[in-house]
């Protein structure tokens, strides 16, 4: 088990290297750089002045030189400094990441808590109103864009009920209740699409599992229906569901880019997109590394969960 985890963690290295090369090159393919952004359309700097400034930022070096200089620093634990504010990128990202992780965990929590029971019920009670409800949730969840849902929730809460949680992000340790109030709408708007996917997956996996021989055997043994469902069927049906959640983490992080802006949460997604707009290369590169690492770790956890869900799977 430990060996497996260590091996998987070692595999992170090439993955992260690949991600870093990709983002490094792609960013520099984007027309315009920090100098263009700083000077905007209003400045009257001559091309010579611009060239001098680029030299000051080290942007005149060939791209591979820039990459290895950056990589060398990363290996020493230094993600560089923001080109815009000169703040260390690691510090910026570490202050933003927890908010995004909280948002992601809450979204996954909400979707699993709502989608799995509904998916199981829809599989068991076919043709009834519950299945109709499940279909509706599936359809709505997949077709409503999260930014639209987020905006509507804000407008309905404020104009309809005159209610909005406090505007400035509250730390969960300072005031967990207020923090939950703040995170509820953003988490739900992110959760809905995931909920639809998990629900559909749960329902179809349950339907498949319920047709298997061992379920018939369990019923023939005289086990109660609840026990058959929860103990024998659901656990097996969860394997594809957990896989889907792991894969969807990427989409979820993508969603935070928009949702954090709408709800004014100073998280990683917003920092990431601002970094792109500002051509703040070190910030974007650092953020991509961190998101890639998170994604890899989440999927490692997903793989480890298989062993729990299906005792036949062993890592050793």
């Amino acid at each position: 088990m430990t060996r497996y985890i260590v091996a998987r963690l070692l595999w992170c290295v090439p993955v992260l290297l690949g991600a870093s090369v990709l983002i490094f090159v792609l960013l520099r393919f984007l027309p315009g750089d920090i100098v263009d952004i700083i000077l905007g359309t209003e400045g009257s700097a001559t091309p010579e002045v611009r060239a001098t400034i680029r030299r000051l930022f080290g942007l005149d070096q060939p791209i591979y030189v820039q990459y290895f200089v950056w990589l060398g620093a990363v290996l020493r634990g230094d993600l560089g400094s923001s080109l815009r504010t000169s703040e260390p990128v690691l510090g910026i990202l570490l202050s933003r990441l927890p908010i995004t992780i909280e948002l992601a965990l809450l979204s996954v929590g909400i979707s699993v808590l709502m989608a799995v029971p509904l998916g199981v019920l829809a599989a068991v009670k076919r043709g009834g109103p519950i299945e109709l409800l499940a279909r509706l949730v599936g359809l709505i969840g997949l077709s409503l864009p999260n930014f639209w849902l987020a905006t509507m929730m804000i407008l309905v809460a404020s104009l309809g009920f005159g209610w909005l949680p406090s505007l400035i992000y509250v730390n969960p340790l300072t005031d967990p209740i207020e923090n939950l109030k703040q995170m509820l709408m953003p988490a739900f708007s992110l959760a809905l699409a995931l909920m639809a996917i998990v629900l559909r997956m749960t329902r179809s996996a349950m339907l498949e599992v319920l047709g298997q021989d061992y379920v018939k055997t369990a019923r023939a043994k005289g086990l109660g229906e609840r026990l058959v469902l929860m103990r024998h069927a659901l656990k097996n049906a969860m394997i594809p569901v957990v896989t889907v959640i792991g894969v969807q983490m990427g989409t979820l992080f993508g969603g935070t880019v928009v949702i954090e802006q709408i709800f004014g949460l100073p998280g990683m997604g917003w920092t990431f997109i601002n970094g792109i707009y500002q051509r703040d290369y070190p910030t974007v590169q650092g953020a991509v590394l961190m998101l890639a690492l998170t994604f890899v770790l989440v999927n490692l956890v997903v793989d480890l969960m298989y062993a729990y869900l299906d005792p036949r799977i062993r890592y050793g």
């Binding site: 091309p47 400034i53 504010t85 927890p98 905006t151 400035i168 004014g264």
Partner: protein, 565 residues
């Protein structure tokens, strides 16, 4: 042989709990939210001052600051001068990218630092120049030496005394190449600052530059920072100024919190004890927060204002703003080098249609200097091409031999009104048989493509914000040697001569004549198309009193704002 799985349900659960607790801990390491603000207290002794006074009495009729009809007049009539103390929250529509007053061209940065820093001069509500850190000044007869007599009662927010050495430091930092100051060219005619004594600074110019005093007041690059400030701290994230407000908290993407500077040299100001600027980039969220009473002030579009004007607790203030929307024509490309083609295209356009469709009517037609800029701008009856003339446009195109004209209009979706403007242009051009394609580019890409040295565009849509002097709207674009003149292609010796004279003549009446003449010449020759100058549309909750809009688009007068609950 089967081995017992080493990864059990119990160990999984235990690890999950640890993971959850870990992320909660991480989240807990975030910045804390500010404590609740103290309540307003009302002192009835001060002199009364009406709120929401007209910002620009000289502007076109539609453009006077006025509360919307539906709202009650509370914010207008309350005596702001009597109100002291209290706190408000204002919604900030852009995330300030940096607070460094010298290193940024973003308006969002100005919005963040303008409450903290000051310059030698400042503007009043009517854009008249007033003393600020300099209590008076003398200009040498040849216009090349400005002696500033500094206030003696000014302290930096860290308690240090403000002196002439700070002014010298400011200039050196602005000029240093590694500062990368976008507005460096606004001050590079100052060769050096001489410290005459502790409270006297002399600016020595290479040549006369009449706009200098106003250029300080604009606070773009002109904000004075303390000697050694950039070496002592990070000016992008902290700010120690001399202004009415001290910045006490800055959480990027979240909020900025300011408290009253109790040692401010103007003892009357500021009236509030503190205010918080919450970054709310989505207009829907600003509307919601405003109506729920969570913010007391928000900047809105016309559509946003329409949605809150029915609320009797909110007053909408509309006033002219320096936001001049421009189509830049690439005069270095064929056929745009032909004046007849530019005139024909311009004749196909109706500025009022653009105003209606791009900003729902919230603007006034404008020439090269934005309408409402004190008395520098062309009056409505002096503007040309205010009604389309399609027949003449077609005739001019035929004369120029352009039968199948095709080109691209660049715009950026970061500013939806630019895209709308481009679409209206495209539509109008169709009527004279011209096929324009509208291309939308991400802002950074747009900037790269449009600026020197690329000048890779036929036509692009952008806007000019507040510049202190007409020279800033004209010289950098239309002087034949200017950097922003595409490949130095627009070349009119008469314009050159006038622009140069505008930089040397000190007499205000003469300068007014010069700039009126230049603007009329440009309106004839159309190296750019100028469409409209926008409005400040600001919503305030009625208990906010004394707030006055500014033509600069800045929130200068938050310092005289109070609350009356």
């Amino acid at each position: 042989m089967e081995t017992r799985p080493r990864f059990t349900r119990r160990s999984f659960l235990r690890q999950s709990v640890l993971l959850g607790a870990g992320s909660a801990l991480l989240a807990a390491c975030q910045q804390q939210s500010p404590p609740p603000a103290p309540k307003a207290e009302v002192k009835p002794t001060e002199a009364a001052k009406p709120a929401a006074a007209p910002a620009q009495p000289t502007a076109a009729p539609a453009a006077a600051a006025k509360p919307s009809d539906a709202a009650p007049p509370a914010a207008q009539s309350a005596p702001a001068g009597q109100v002291r103390g209290g706190a408000i929250t204002i919604a900030q529509e852009l995330d300030p990218v940096s607070l460094d007053p010298h290193k940024t061209s973003n308006f969002s940065a100005v919005q963040g630092f303008e409450h903290v820093y000051e310059s030698l001069t400042q503007y009043d509500e009517k854009l008249n120049l007033q003393p600020a850190l300099a209590e008076r000044w003398e200009v040498s007869p040849d216009g090349t030496q400005y002696t500033f007599f500094l206030r003696k009662d000014v302290k930096w927010h860290d308690g240090n005394e403000f002196t002439a050495a700070d002014v010298k430091y400011w200039h050196e930092r602005m000029m240093a190449q590694e500062t990368v100051a976008p507005y460096k060219n606004w001050f590079d005619m100052i060769e050096r600052i001489e410290v005459v004594d502790k409270n006297t600074a002399k600016a020595v110019l290479g040549k006369p530059y009449p706009p200098l005093l106003a250029t300080f007041a604009a606070l773009r690059g002109g904000a004075i920072t303390q000697e050694g400030a950039a070496e002592k701290g990070n000016l992008a994230t902290t700010a120690i100024g001399t202004g009415p407000w001290k910045l006490v908290e800055y959480v990027p993407q979240s909020h900025l919190r300011y408290v009253k500077n109790a040692d401010y040299w103007n003892r009357e100001l500021p009236r509030l004890d503190e205010f918080t600027m919450k970054i709310v980039t989505e207009e829907d969220a600003r509307v919601a927060a405003l109506r729920a009473g969570q913010v007391d002030y928000a900047f809105l579009s016309q559509e946003g204002a329409d949605r809150v004007k029915a609320d009797r607790n909110i007053t909408i203030l509309e006033s002219p703003k320096a936001w001049l929307t421009v189509a830049q024509i690439n005069t270095s490309r064929k056929p745009f080098d032909d004046i007849r083609v530019r005139q024909a295209l311009r004749m196909a356009l109706d500025p009022n249609e653009i105003i209606q469709k791009a900003v729902s009517g919230a603007a006034t037609p404008s020439g090269p200097v934005p309408t409402g800029h004190t008395d520098w701008f062309l009056k409505p009856d002096e503007l040309k091409y205010q009604k389309p003339d399609l027949d003449k446009a077609r005739a001019l195109l035929a004369e120029a031999g352009q039968s199948n004209l095709k080109f691209t209009i660049l715009s950026s979706p970061q500013y939806p009104e630019f895209v709308s403007t481009a679409l209206v242009m495209q539509d109008s051009f169709k009527k004279i048989g011209v096929d324009a394609e509208v291309q939308q580019l991400e802002w950074g890409t747009f900037v790269k493509q449009v600026n020197a040295p690329a000048f890779d565009y036929d036509v692009n849509i952008t806007a000019r914000t507040f510049y202190p002097d007409p020279d800033h709207y004209l010289y950098p674009y239309f002087n034949s040697a200017a950097v922003n003149n595409p490949n130095k292609s627009y070349n009119n010796p008469k314009v050159d001569e006038l622009l140069d004279r505008g930089r040397t003549v000190g007499d205000s009446a003469q300068r007014h004549q010069i700039y009126a003449e230049v603007q009329k010449l440009l309106e004839d020759e159309l190296p750019h198309f100028w469409f409209y100058s926008g409005l400040n549309i600001e919503a305030v909750r009625n208990h906010v009193v004394g707030y006055v809009p500014s033509f600069t688009g800045r929130r200068i007068f938050l310092k005289q704002t109070g609350v009356q609950r």
